[in-house]
Symmetry: C2
Subunit: 440 residues, 2 copies
C-alpha cells in the first residue's frame, strides 16, 4: 500500500480521520478512460482537450426567416416606396443547392439556411409584404399550403446593411479552437457543444461500478417477517442509494450471513463487476466479526496493494474501519462498521470521496460551512475523537437532530448536515461556531 510508510506499525494505533482518508485517496486512482456515446458521458470527466474540427457555423447563414437580397437593390426602400424584387426560389435549412441571387432578385430564406451566392444580407419577412402585395406581413405561409410563395414578386419595405441578419461562418467557434479542456465535467451545455462540433463519442473516465454488501446473520430483507432478534437490512439500501447519488453505477448484493467462507466467496464472485467494494458490519472486536476474519488475509503478501487493513479511527461514530485492496486487479475495498449511522457517516467521509476520485473529479468532498450552534444545552464529545453529530442547517445556523447513538436512523433521515466536533473539543456550547458538512 502506498501509504505504508505513514502507517504506524502498532496495530492498536488510533488512526485520525485524516490519516485514514489520506490512505484511501492516495491509493484509489481514477479509472482508465473509455470512449462513450455522448449521452452516456453525462456527468463524466473529459480526459483529453477537445479541439474544434470544423468552424461553427460551418457556413454563412440566415438568422431570420426572410429574404436574401443584394444591398444595392434595397437601398432607400420604405413602405411607401418599396423595393420590388423577383423571388427566384426558396432556401430552406438543409437545402443542398441554393439558388443564385442576381441584381433585382431575392431568395426566400429560412433561419439557419446558407446565404445563397450573390446575396449580401437578409431582410426579415416582417419587413416585406411576404409576396402577397398587401403591406407588411407577420410571417410566411407554410410551403406545403402555399407553394407559390417561392416565386413571384416581393416588396421590401426597409433597407439592409451588408451582412445584416447573417451569421458568419466561424462566428461561434473556429476550426482548431479549443472547445473543451481536459478535466471538464460534461453537463448538458457541454454535451451540446460536443454534438454541435460533430463528436458522437468522447473519451471520459466512466462511472465506477460499486458493489455494496451488508453482513449480519440478524439481517432480514425489508418486506419480510422479522423473528425475535432480527432486524431489517437498511445499510445495503442506504449505501447503494448513496453510491448512485455520488455518481456510481451501484449494485446492491444485500445481506450476507456471518460466515467467513460465504462472505469470502461472495466477495470474490462480485469482483468481476466491481471497481470498488463496500461492505458493512463485521469489523469490530466481536467473535462473529466475519468481514475482519474473512478479509484480513485476502491480500497476496507478495504483491503491492493486496490485503485489507483493519484499524481503529479516532472518530465517533465509525471507530472500526477496514481499507485495502483485493483480488488480481487490486480492487479497492472499504469495510464500514455495521451500525446504520456509522456506516452512513463513513460513506459520506470516505466512500463518496473514493467514488469521486475514481471518476477523475478533483472536487471530491461534500461542501462544508461554519454555522452557529442552536441547541438547548451543550453538546458533549469524547476527548481525542472527532465526533460527527446529525443536524439541520439553514441560514448559517445548525440544530442537532437526535442523539449521538449510532443506531438512530430516524434522526439521520431528518438531518441535512453533520456537525463536526474536533478531537480537542469535549463540549460545544449553544451559540458557538461549529463546522458542518452539508449533505445536500
Amino acid at each position: 500500500m502506498s501509504s505504508a510508510a505513514t502507517r504506524p506499525d502498532d496495530p492498536d494505533h488510533l488512526w485520525s480521520v485524516d490519516e485514514h482518508l489520506d490512505d484511501i485517496l492516495t491509493t484509489v486512482r481514477p479509472l482508465e478512460p473509455i470512449e462513450l456515446h455522448l449521452l452516456d458521458a453525462l456527468g463524466c470527466v473529459l480526459v483529453d482537450d477537445v479541439t474544434v474540427p470544423v468552424s461553427l457555423p460551418p457556413f454563412d447563414n440566415s438568422s431570420m426567416d426572410g429574404y436574401a437580397v443584394r444591398v444595392a437593390d434595397v437601398s432607400g426602400a420604405s413602405e411607401e416606396f418599396p423595393a420590388v424584387l423577383e423571388v427566384v426560389g426558396d432556401v430552406a435549412a438543409g437545402a443542398a443547392d441554393p439558388v443564385r441571387v442576381g441584381p433585382g432578385q431575392a431568395a426566400r430564406i429560412m433561419t439557419g439556411a446558407p446565404l445563397p451566392p450573390g446575396a449580401e444580407a437578409v431582410v426579415p419577412v416582417e419587413w416585406t409584404d411576404g409576396g402577397l402585395g398587401e403591406g407588411p406581413v407577420n410571417g410566411m405561409r407554410a410551403r406545403s399550403l402555399a407553394p407559390e410563395g417561392s416565386e413571384g414578386q416581393v416588396r421590401v419595405h426597409r433597407p439592409a446593411e451588408a451582412r445584416a441578419h447573417v451569421r458568419a461562418k466561424g462566428g461561434d467557434v473556429k476550426a482548431g479552437d479549443l472547445a473543451l479542456e481536459a478535466g471538464t465535467i460534461l453537463g448538458p451545455p457541454q454535451i451540446a457543444l460536443l454534438a454541435a462540433i460533430g463528436r458522437g463519442t468522447v473519451r471520459v473516465r466512466p462511472r465506477p461500478r460499486v458493489v455494496v454488501l451488508s453482513t449480519g446473520s440478524e439481517l432480514v430483507q425489508p418486506g419480510e417477517e422479522l423473528a425475535h432478534g432480527q432486524i431489517y437490512d437498511s445499510n445495503s439500501f442506504a449505501l447503494t442509494a448513496a453510491a448512485r447519488d455520488a455518481g456510481a453505477i451501484a449494485y446492491r448484493v444485500g445481506a450476507v450471513a456471518d460466515d467467513a467462507d460465504i462472505l469470502r466467496s461472495t466477495v470474490e464472485d462480485q469482483l468481476i463487476r466491481a471497481d470498488l467494494l463496500v461492505t458493512t458490519g463485521g469489523v469490530s472486536v466481536g467473535a462473529y466479526d466475519v468481514v475482519k476474519e474473512a478479509l484480513s488475509y485476502a491480500g497476496d503478501e507478495d504483491e503491492a496493494g493486496g490485503g485489507i487493513d483493519f484499524r481503529k479511527l479516532a472518530m465517533q461514530p465509525g471507530k472500526p474501519q477496514g481499507f485495502g485492496s483485493i483480488g488480481r486487479d487490486h480492487t479497492p475495498l472499504l469495510a464500514l462498521p455495521g451500525n446504520p449511522v456509522s456506516s452512513y457517516v463513513s460513506f459520506e467521509l470516505f466512500v463518496r470521496p473514493a467514488i469521486r476520485t475514481l471518476m477523475g473529479l478533483t472536487d471530491v468532498h461534500r461542501p462544508r460551512a461554519r454555522a452557529t450552534l442552536r441547541a438547548d444545552k451543550a453538546l458533549g464529545s469524547p476527548r481525542g475523537r472527532r465526533q460527527f453529530l446529525r443536524g439541520t442547517y439553514a441560514d448559517g445556523e445548525v440544530t442537532p437532530v437526535g442523539g449521538s447513538g449510532s443506531h438512530l436512523i430516524a434522526a439521520l433521515a431528518h438531518a441535512d448536515a453533520l456537525i463536526v466536533l474536533p478531537e480537542d473539543v469535549e463540549s460545544a456550547e449553544p451559540g458557538t461556531e461549529v463546522e458542518v458538512v452539508l449533505l445536500g
Copy 2:
C-alpha cells in the same frame, strides 16, 4: 386549457415569460403515484405519510461487543478484584434462542444481539479478560478459531449500571410514530429509514418519461459527414441530457426532417412512452416551420386540454414557443425554438419546471441570486423583452460569456449562469446589480 381565461385572444399578443410559465404550471399535473422498490424510488417524492409499524430497535440489544451480566454480580469489580463469572454461551446478532443469565453468570454478547433474559447490562470486552485469564483484552477471538470463548470463566474489571450499553427497544422510533411525511424527497438516509422499518416498496410519484425530438432537414447525427448547408444536431442531445439532469427518464428520438406528415406520425408514435414531449425547431414564421404546421391542429377541439398553441414571448432568446397537450391522454408538449441557445434557455425556464412539477416537487425552479455585473461595457437589451444572457457566476459577481446570439453554443458551454435583464431595462452598466439564474 385551464388558463384560457388569461390568454389574450389576439394571436399576435406578446406573452410575457411569466404568463407562459403560468400557463404551463397550471396545466401540467403531478404524475399518478406508483408503488416502487426502494432503490427505484431514490430521488422521488413520497405520496403518503409513512408510519412506523414496529419499534426500532425491535428489542433491547447490546451496543457493544462484550458480556451480558447482572448488575449485582459486577458491583465493585476492579482489575485488582475482578468479578469472576461463568460464561453460559454466546449471544450473536440474529441468534434465535438466547441463553438465560442467572446469578454469577454472563453471556458473551455481540453488538446488536438481543439482551438475554436475566441480564441487566453489558460490559464491553475491553473491561474484561475476554476469558483468557491474562488481564484486559482488546477484543474477542473469532468464534470459528476459538470456540472455547463461549464457555469457561470471564473476569470483569469494572462495574456496570443497569441498562449500561443497552439500546432500549423503541429508542429510535416507536410503532405508530410518523416516520416520514408525505412530500418528502427520498434520499439515501430516507431510504435507510424505510428499509429499517421493513418497507420494501413505497408509493411515490415516478420519474416522468420525457421524449425529446429535434426537427430540421439540415440536421446530421454527430459523427457523420456534413454536406454543405448541414449542421450537426445538438439540441436533441443537450435536452435529453438536461431532462435526465432534471430527474426525468429521457428518450432521445433525434432529428426529424421538415415534413409535417412525418413529424405528426413520429410524435403520435412516441406518445405511448411519453409523460411529456419536447420538440425543438419549426415554431417560427418561416415557410418550413413544420412543428407549427403539424401540431397546430393536433388537438381535438371538442375536448379540454387538446391542441398546441403557438405564441410569441417577450423574451430573448426564445421568442417563438408552443405549448399545449396532445393525444388521448392530453400529454403535455412543449415546442421550443430551434436555435441551440434558445432551446436550452427555454428548457431551463419552462421544461425543467414542468418535469419537476410532474415529479410532485414543490421547488421546481433553478435557484436565483443577485450579482454585481462585471463587464467592460454596458449590456444592451431590447426594450419590452426579457433577456437572458450567458455568464459565469462566482462570489456575488457575474461576468458575461459570449454575445447575445442564440447560435453561440461555445459560450453556453462555458457559462454557469443566466443573466436576467428585465423588460424595462435597455442597458445594464458594469457594477450594477443584476439577477442571475444559477444553472448549477
